[in-house]
C-alpha cells in the first residue's frame, strides 16, 4: 500500500531492527489483530490459562479474558465445527489445533464446512476463519505427531494454505490470514518457534501484512533454483552458503503460501537458472514438490530446464522415534547439497 511504501522510504536509510522469534511474532500478530477487530477471537486446547501448549498465545487470556480467548475440551471435531459456525454468523475465529495431526479429527469441518461453503452458496456465505497450529516434524515425537499436512490441505479448492518460515513470514502472513475473508490453513513449525530473526521497523508496524499467494526470493542465484517452504527454507539457505564456496550460486525461493501456489515466481527463477530442486519436510508421494514439478512441466519454464527437476523430501515412512532414524527421515543440508550437485552434474 501507499502508506507502507512511505514507511519503506523512511526506513531505507536506517532500518531499526529488533530481534523477534517466530513464537513471539505469532503472538504479537494475534494480539494486534485481537485489538484491531473485536470480532476476532481464539479458541483451542490450552490456549487460555495454559498460555498455549507451545506458548504461542502467552499473555493473551490475561489481556483479553474468557470471551476472546477460549479453552476448549479435547474435542476437535466439535470445536472446529463451532469455530466455523461462528464464522458463518459474523465472527472471525482463530481455531488452534494443538498440532495439525489432530486436525484429522476435524478435517470434515475444515474441508466440507469451511472450504466449500462459499462456492456451494454461490458467494452468499463467506467463512472468515483461520485454522492454525504446528505442522510437520518436531523432535522425538514419533509417527502420530510428526506428519506434514501441506499437501493434504493444499489439494483443496476453497482453502488458502500458508506455510511461514521466519518471523517476518509468521507475522505478516498471520495478520493477513486473520484479515482474510476466507478459510486459511496456517501451518506453523514447532522447531522454528524459538528461532530469532531481525525485524525491521516496517515489519513491526501494526498494519504490516504480507500477501497470501506470493513467494519470496530469499537469495538470488544463477545456477539453480531451490524451492521450499517452512523450516526447509533455512536448510536451503545453509546449503546455498556451502555451495557458494564451490562457486555454485543457488536461488532460494521461499514459497510462503502453498495454495494458491505462486507459480510465476518459480517459473521466472527456473527460466533464469535452468535447474530446479524442490525441498520439503513432507512425504514425496502426491506432495508439494510433485505439484511444483508438474506445473513446471506444463508451463513456459519447461523449455528452460537443462536437467530434470528433482524433489528432496521426507522419507516415505512413518516418523521413527530413535534420534538417528529421525534425523535420517527428514531432509538435511547434505541431502540438498548432494541433490544440487547431481542435478548440475558435478
Amino acid at each position: 500500500s501507499h502508506f507502507l511504501s512511505c514507511l519503506v522510504e523512511f526506513s531505507k536509510t536506517s532500518p531499526a531492527a529488533v530481534q523477534v522469534n517466530v513464537r513471539d511474532a505469532l503472538n504479537q500478530a494475534m494480539d494486534e489483530e485481537l485489538e484491531r477487530d473485536e470480532r476476532v477471537f481464539l479458541l483451542g486446547e490450552e490456549v487460555a490459562q495454559y498460555d498455549g501448549a507451545y506458548k504461542v498465545s502467552r499473555g493473551l487470556w490475561k489481556k483479553y479474558g474468557d470471551k476472546r480467548i477460549i479453552d476448549t475440551p479435547i474435542t476437535e471435531m466439535g470445536f472446529a465445527g463451532i469455530a466455523v459456525g461462528a464464522a458463518f454468523a459474523g465472527l472471525r475465529p482463530i481455531c488452534e489445533f494443538m498440532t495439525w495431526n489432530f486436525s484429522m479429527q476435524a478435517i470434515d469441518q475444515v474441508i466440507n464446512s469451511a472450504a466449500k461453503t462459499y462456492y456451494m452458496s454461490a458467494g452468499a456465505q463467506p467463512v472468515p476463519i483461520v485454522f492454525r497450529g504446528p505442522n510437520g516434524s518436531s523432535a522425538g515425537v514419533a509417527a502420530q505427531h510428526s506428519q506434514c499436512f501441506a499437501a493434504w490441505y493444499g489439494h483443496c479448492p476453497g482453502l488458502k494454505v500458508v506455510s511461514p518460515w521466519n518471523s517476518e513470514d509468521a507475522r505478516g502472513l498471520l495478520k493477513a490470514a486473520i484479515r482474510d475473508n476466507n478459510p486459511v490453513v496456517f501451518l506453523e513449525n514447532e522447531l522454528m518457534y524459538g528461532v530469532p530473526f531481525d525485524l525491521s521497523e516496517e515489519v513491526m508496524h501494526k498494519d504490516f501484512v504480507l500477501p497470501i499467494g506470493k513467494a519470496k526470493v530469499e537469495r538470488q542465484g544463477t545456477h539453480i533454483t531451490l524451492v521450499s517452504h517452512s523450516r526447509c527454507v533455512g536448510f536451503c539457505l545453509d546449503a546455498a552458503a556451502v555451495l557458494a564456496k564451490e562457486g555454485v550460486e543457488c536461488e532460494v525461493v521461499n514459497l510462503r503460501t502453498i495454495r494458491p501456489l505462486d507459480v510465476e515466481t518459480i517459473e521466472a527463477s527456473v527460466m533464469k537458472t535452468g535447474h530446479l530442486v524442490t525441498v520439503e519436510g513432507g512425504w514425496p508421494q502426491y506432495g508439494v514438490g510433485a505439484e511444483i514439478c508438474a506445473r513446471i512441466m506444463e508451463g513456459p519454464a519447461f523449455n528452460y530446464l537443462d536437467a530434470p527437476a528433482v524433489r528432496v523430501t521426507g522419507v516415505d515412512i512413518p516418523m521413527p522415534y530413535a534420534k538417528i532414524l529421525e534425523d535420517h527421515s527428514v531432509p538435511q543440508i547434505k541431502d540438498i547439497i548432494f541433490t544440487v550437485k547431481k542435478v548440475l552434474n558435478m
Binding site: G81, I82, G85, A124
Partner: protein
C-alpha cells in the same frame, strides 16, 4: 335459523365477510387448543399446555405447510422426469416441524439443518421458485445452480448440509456468535434420529452446556435413518434425553401448535441465559430416505397409510380450523388453488430458466476482502 344462531352464539365472531361470490359465516378469530402434553427431561415445567391460534395464524400455517407439501410433490415429479438429478430428500409429512419452529422463533433467530432441507429453506424465506430452480440446477436458483438440493442458504439460515451431524457443531457455533455479540438471538440446530448418535453432537452438547450457548438442539425423529429404524440404530431411542445434563422436551411433531409452543418455551429458556436445550420432534416422512429409495423395504405401506390417514399435520390443522369455524371449506379450497398456481409457475420457471453460464465455473472460490 341455524345460521343466525351461530352468529349470535359465538362470542368471538367475525361479522359476515364477503369473499368473492361467497359469504363466510361466523369464522371465529381464535381458539384455545390443548396440544399434547410434552414429556420432560430435567425440567420442572414445560411448554404451555394451551395454544392460542388466531384465524390469521391458522390460515398462514396452513398456506405455508400446504405450499411445502405441494413443492415437495412437485420435486418428486420433476425428479422422476429426470429434470432434478442427484440427491433429493423430500420433507412431505414433516411440515409441522418446520412451520411450528418458524412460528415460534423470530426471523432474526438462526437455523441450520441437515440435507432434508427444502421445507426449512422455504420457511426461512426463500421462494418456491428459487428452491425449485436450484433443484433443477438453473441460474435462477437460490445458489445460482451451484449448490443443489443440500446447499441452499438464506439470511440466518445456514443450509442444507450434506455431512450427517456436521451441522450440529456449526449450529452451536452460530449460537456462540449470538452470545458473543449479545444480540439475544438463538440458534436452532436440527438433526435426525440417524444423526443423533454422532460423536460430534455430544461434543456440541458438552460445549454448549459448559458455555451456556443459546442453542436449541432439535432431533427430528422420523423413525428411520435411511433404512435403519431407531430400534436398530440406537441403544437409547429417548432422543430428548440424550443430552443427559441438558434438559429435554419430547414433542408431537405432527401438531404444529405443539411444536410452536415447545419452541417458544425453548427459545425463552435460551434467551434467559440458561444454556442449551434439546427437543425431540416425533414426526414421519411419507417418502423414502431420498428419491432413490421407494421407502417400503424397511417399513410397510400400511404404516405409511396409517400415518397419512390419522396423523397428517396439514389435515390435522385443517380439521381443527374447520371444526372450530375458523375457516370455511371454500376458503381452504381457494388457498389450495392459489398454491397450486404458485407451484406450477415456479416449476415452469425451474424448467425453462437457463443453466448457469460456463464462466461461472471457477467463481466463488474466494471472497475478495
Amino acid at each position: 335459523d341455524l345460521y343466525f344462531l351461530c352468529v349470535y352464539r359465538s362470542l368471538m365472531c367475525h361479522s359476515l365477510s364477503l369473499q368473492g361470490a361467497r359469504m363466510v359465516a361466523s369464522t371465529r378469530s381464535f381458539a384455545d387448543f390443548t396440544p399434547q402434553k410434552c414429556e420432560l427431561h430435567r425440567l420442572e415445567a414445560g411448554p404451555s399446555e394451551t395454544a392460542v391460534l388466531t384465524r390469521e395464524q391458522g390460515l398462514q400455517y396452513y398456506r405455508t405447510m400446504q405450499t411445502m407439501r405441494r413443492m415437495e410433490l412437485k420435486a418428486d415429479q420433476l425428479y422422476k422426469q429426470k429434470i432434478i438429478r442427484g440427491f433429493c430428500h423430500l420433507y412431505d409429512g414433516q411440515e409441522a416441524c418446520a412451520m411450528g419452529i418458524e412460528a415460534g422463533i423470530n426471523p432474526t433467530d438462526h437455523l441450520i439443518t441437515a440435507y432434508r432441507a427444502h421445507g426449512y429453506t422455504f420457511t426461512r424465506g426463500v421462494s418456491v421458485r428459487e428452491i425449485l430452480a436450484e433443484l433443477t440446477g438453473r441460474r435462477g436458483g437460490v445458489a445460482k445452480g451451484k449448490g443443489g438440493s443440500m446447499h441452499m442458504y438464506a439470511k440466518h439460515f445456514y443450509g442444507g448440509n450434506g455431512i450427517v451431524g456436521a451441522q450440529v457443531p456449526l449450529g452451536a457455533g452460530v449460537a456462540l456468535a449470538c452470545q458473543y455479540q449479545g444480540n439475544n438471538q438463538v440458534c436452532v440446530a436440527l438433526y435426525g434420529d440417524g444423526a443423533a448418535n454422532q460423536g460430534q453432537i455430544f461434543e456440541s452438547f458438552n460445549m454448549a452446556a459448559l458455555w451456556k450457548l443459546p442453542c436449541i438442539f432439535i432431533c427430528e425423529n422420523n423413525k428411520f435413518g435411511m433404512g435403519t429404524s431407531v430400534e436398530r440404530s440406537s441403544a437409547s431411542t429417548d432422543y430428548f434425553k440424550r443430552g443427559d445434563y441438558i434438559p429435554g422436551i419430547k414433542v408431537d411433531g405432527m401438531d404444529v401448535l405443539c411444536v410452536r409452543e415447545a419452541i417458544k418455551f425453548a427459545a425463552d429458556y435460551c434467551r434467559a441465559g440458561k444454556g442449551p436445550i434439546v427437543m425431540e420432534l416425533e414426526t414421519y416422512r411419507y417418502h423414502g430416505h431420498s428419491m432413490s429409495d421407494p421407502g417400503v423395504s424397511y417399513r410397510s405401506r400400511e404404516e405409511i397409510q396409517e400415518v397419512r390417514s390419522k396423523s397428517d399435520p396439514i389435515t390435522m390443522l385443517k380439521e381443527r380450523m374447520l371444526s372450530n369455524n375458523m375457516a370455511s371449506v371454500e376458503e381452504i379450497k381457494e388457498i389450495d388453488v392459489e398454491i397450486r398456481k404458485v407451484i406450477e409457475d415456479a416449476a415452469q420457471f425451474a424448467i425453462s430458466d437457463p443453466e448457469p453460464p460456463l464462466d461461472e465455473l471457477c467463481n466463488h472460490i474466494f471472497s475478495v476482502s
